[in-house]
Point group: C2
Chain length 222, copies 2
Amino acid sequence: MRTLYHFPLQPQSRKMRLLLGEKHVECDFVIERPWERREAFLRINPASETPVLVEDGGLAIIGDYAIEEYLEEICPEPAMIGRTIQERAEIRRLVQWFDGKFQREVTQHTLDEKITKRLTGRGQPDSTAIRAGKVNVAVHLAYITWLIDRRNWLGGAELSLADLAAAAHLSAIDYVGDVPWDDHPTAKEWYARLKSRPSFRPLLADHLPGTQPPPHYADLDF
Amino acid sequence: MRTLYHFPLQPQSRKMRLLLGEKHVECDFVIERPWERREAFLRINPASETPVLVEDGGLAIIGDYAIEEYLEEICPEPAMIGRTIQERAEIRRLVQWFDGKFQREVTQHTLDEKITKRLTGRGQPDSTAIRAGKVNVAVHLAYITWLIDRRNWLGGAELSLADLAAAAHLSAIDYVGDVPWDDHPTAKEWYARLKSRPSFRPLLADHLPGTQPPPHYADLDF
């Protein structure tokens, strides 16, 4: 059986778990705490970063960029990176939007301050950063609203990796309680559709010792 | 004619210029200063980020992730993201290494402190960050040495996008004079091979007003 090495609250790991679920790819899951620099994991990935997918034969696919393109190639159905050249460009644009822009403007300010700093012993959360994250997340929810007013899913008519990337980040931020869903009903409706998919269930069951997600985190009718 | 909107010292823009050159794709180039949030550019890319490739018919391919995969699809020769599934995974791993890990550990500490902060009016360079960047770049040059001791190019036997991503970052750092080439002769030999390719020439001619790259920057025999 193939194995995904992941860290549950890392958005890039969550994106891979959602993608494996949507493609119905069977997989074992191993939780890796990359900052511990476990020797056996470093031998697989010298960058000591999750996610890493290891195939039965030992082939290691390292990093979310390599894994998502690999899975699309070996399991093309359902297509998650589009069917036309235009769709693929639009979906990849949005994946980079969330893993780049959203990561810098929200995830780093929110999740990294509230959770990652404590886990990795890098000091106290910076309340200025957390406030900036709260301001910024509203801008991204407004952009999701703008897209969903025009399309069924973020990347177009079909569910795609763009939705999974966005939901991976937002679900991690939601775990620390910083998503103002009620101010953004269209984005909330889109997220509720994703949250009710079977691929999402394992994420809603995640629990990081010493933390408590808000009650609505795992509630499908939030 | 297609047009690439780019910022000359941004590594992701440089990677695209190198890729267009290696694939012999004809292109016009427009320098964009994304932080100015030019209205016509925002209409193309609401993220106001370079690089963006606009085709004759108006199709906009936004972001380096979308553009590199698009160019590989429309101009498959020479292949720059590998010919086998293993090669593709390895090349994408290394592209993410440089655009992720190297970017956070070196580029942000060096180029962003010395150049981007001044351009965007975000204050004075942080000398602690610049020192950290100098320590970190040596670790990455050692990793390049380790790879080149085992392979002809970073991603395998053939030149690939992995080399272009690495050289895009290193050339931008080299512009501000922070690459200790003489301590890393194997990495230097690899970089000299890249630097002498026709695709590299336009990068060596870049000049940002108010800055002066070190004399060796554009010297092929450095």
